[in-house]
Amino acid sequence: MIAKTFDPEGVVNAMAPLLGLTLTADSRAQTIVHLRIAAEQAEKLLSVPLDDQQEPAPVFTA
């Protein structure tokens, strides 16, 4: 369960300096909101397993 284990505050604290990003307090707060939404989306996406053999579509063609 991503939503239970994912810690957006911890991610921002760790990742911002690694990425060379300096966040204001407002920006940090909103980034946390958006990471939480991303975790909700990932939860939906990853809740059903995909086959190991499933090819990704990094170069998508319709």
Binding site: V11, V12, M15, A16, L19, G20, L21, T22, L23, D26, S27, Q30, T31, I32, V33, H34, L35, I37, A38, Q41, A42, K44, L45, L46, V48, L50, Q54, E55, P56, A57, P58, V59, F60, T61, A62
Partner: protein, 467 residues
């Protein structure tokens, strides 16, 4: 006469210019006058190419005197979202940062094609910063405003494109659509909008957002103009590496073939939840007119939306990471913080999203063995008010900006061609759109259905009554 023509279609303007009933210069001048008079209220244009438009119009009038072929869009004005390169203008892509770039040295391919067909470029249009937007707000240039009610959003990110067309300034505008940025403003402003198949139209000379999801296409006040402009932009362009080597036939000649025999179904499940009654009612109106009783499921649509959401965050962040480091304060804060979050999304999530994309694509193509056209809401509601930041969907309060594209995202995720068609309800000031979705490379079918609905008076896209 030119005023009445400018209220109408590009097709009618071109016919009148070709016949000599009106000059291209008269049309261009009337258009420029309107932009001058109305743009302050609409926030549609960020740059107006006055000299270029008049020079092009004069060239068309001269060519007519010489008896030359003027093209299907002869003298028809058009404008482009300001992420399209226009020679001599800086491609701002809705941002402050890109204004430091040098002016474009050449036009985007789609501009070259429309002008080759006789179109007259009159300017560049407002948009959400870096196209990461569904509202039409822009912190640097001010919002584009919905011509049918100026206190409401145009939708985005092609907000200026929709404001210009619905406001009666131009009959056709170009936009881009990564997750819904043509279809959302078409829905909110009551226009026809075409998001072609991924890889169909060249994106060369446009500022990117999410390379694996970016499309370009037209917005117009008639399905015929949508087809005419689409036809004029078809053709191979090696400058866009994502463009597919698919044969492309013009759609305009097939519009009046009719829709008999087409298997049309509406999408249920995900596309019937999280929608305001107005969105459901609009789909019902179109489904009734098309006698489409069948309901089918696009299994996995919810996850498709989630996957598109994550791919957008990650690819968008990768594009802008250096700018986020160096010029964070110059971004629209609403865009910046989503991009920063995208830079922190685990790689495994986006890799899984791409794996799911392949699976969902295959499953959806299988659905098209039994159906030709799918119907779904374009937006979950009519245009929110400009200042609105949240709305309630399915009993849950959500942020407006990331969630307006609930119904468009699963469709563009796998590149399907879609025409957004506008439905009006008596007594309501604002319209709402329905997605007419076809299998890959069948833009012709979606356009044919939209054309038939317009002919029968089920959908329409009038210019707003502005003075």
């Amino acid at each position: 006469m030119s005023a009445a023509l400018v209220d109408g279609t590009a097709e009618a303007i071109a016919g009148a210019v070709r016949s000599g009933a009106v000059s291209a210069r008269e049309i261009a001048q009337e258009t420029l006058n309107r932009i001058e008079a109305r743009n302050g209220a609409l926030g549609a244009f960020t740059e107006v190419t006055v000299k270029r438009a008049l020079a092009k119009a004069d060239a068309i009038d001269t060519a007519r005197v010489r008896g030359e072929n003027l093209g299907p869009l002869a003298g028809a004005p058009f404008a482009v979202k300001n992420l399209f390169d226009v020679e001599g203008l800086t491609t701002r892509a809705g941002s402050k940062i890109n204004r430091d770039h040098p002016p474009a040295k050449a036009d985007a391919t789609m501009i070259t094609r429309l002008e080759a067909a006789g179109g007259v470029l009159v300017g560049a249009l407002n948009m959400g910063e870096y196209a990461y937007d569904f509202t039409g707000r822009n912190v640097h240039d001010g919002p584009s405003r919905n011509p049918h009610d100026l206190e409401h959003m145009t939708g985005g990110s092609s907000g200026g494109s929709a404001a210009a067309v619905a406001g009666g300034l131009v009959p056709v505008a170009l936009g881009s659509d990564t997750n819904g940025s043509i279809r959302v403003p078409s829905s909110f402003c009551g226009l026809f909008g075409l998001k072609p198949t991924y890889g169909r139209l060249s994106r060369a000379g446009t500022f990117p957002f999410v390379a694996s999801l970016d499309h370009v296409g037209p917005l117009a006040r008639s399905a015929g103009d949508l087809a005419l402009s689409y036809d004029s932009m078809l053709g191979r362009d090696d400058r866009d590496p994502a463009q597919a080597d698919e044969p492309a036939a013009a759609a305009s000649p097939t519009l009046d073939v009719g829709i008999a025999g087409l298997r049309i179904a509406r999408l249920g499940g995900y596309f019937a939840r999280s929608a305001d009654p107005s969105a459901i009612s609009a789909v019902n109106t179109i489904a009734r007119a098309l006698k489409a009783d069948r309901v089918v499921e696009l299994t996995g649509a919810d996850r498709a939306r989630s996957a598109a959401y994550l791919i957008t965050m990650v690819e968008g962040a990768a594009l802008h990471l250096a700018r986020l480091r160096e010029r964070a304060q110059d971004f629209d804060p609403e865009v910046r913080d989503r991009l920063i979050a995208g830079a922190m999304v685990p790689g495994a999530w986006s890799a899984q999203a791409q794996k799911f994309r392949r699976q969902f694509h295959a499953a959806t193509l299988a659905l098209f063995r039994d159906v030709d056209i799918l119907l779904a809401p374009a937006t979950p509601c009519r245009a929110p008010r400009l200042e609105q930041t949240t709305f309630v969907l399915d009993g849950r309060e959500m942020l407006v900006r990331p969630n307006i594209g609930l119904f468009t995202q699963p469709i563009s995720f796998i590149g399907l061609p879609v025409v957004a068609a506008p439905v009006w309800t008596e007594g309501e000031k604002l319209p709402i759109g329905v997605q007419i979705i076809a299998a890959p490379w069948r833009e012709d079918l979606a356009l044919r259905v939209a054309w038939a609905l317009e002919r029968d008076g089920v959908v329409r896209a009038p210019a707003a009554g502005l003075s």
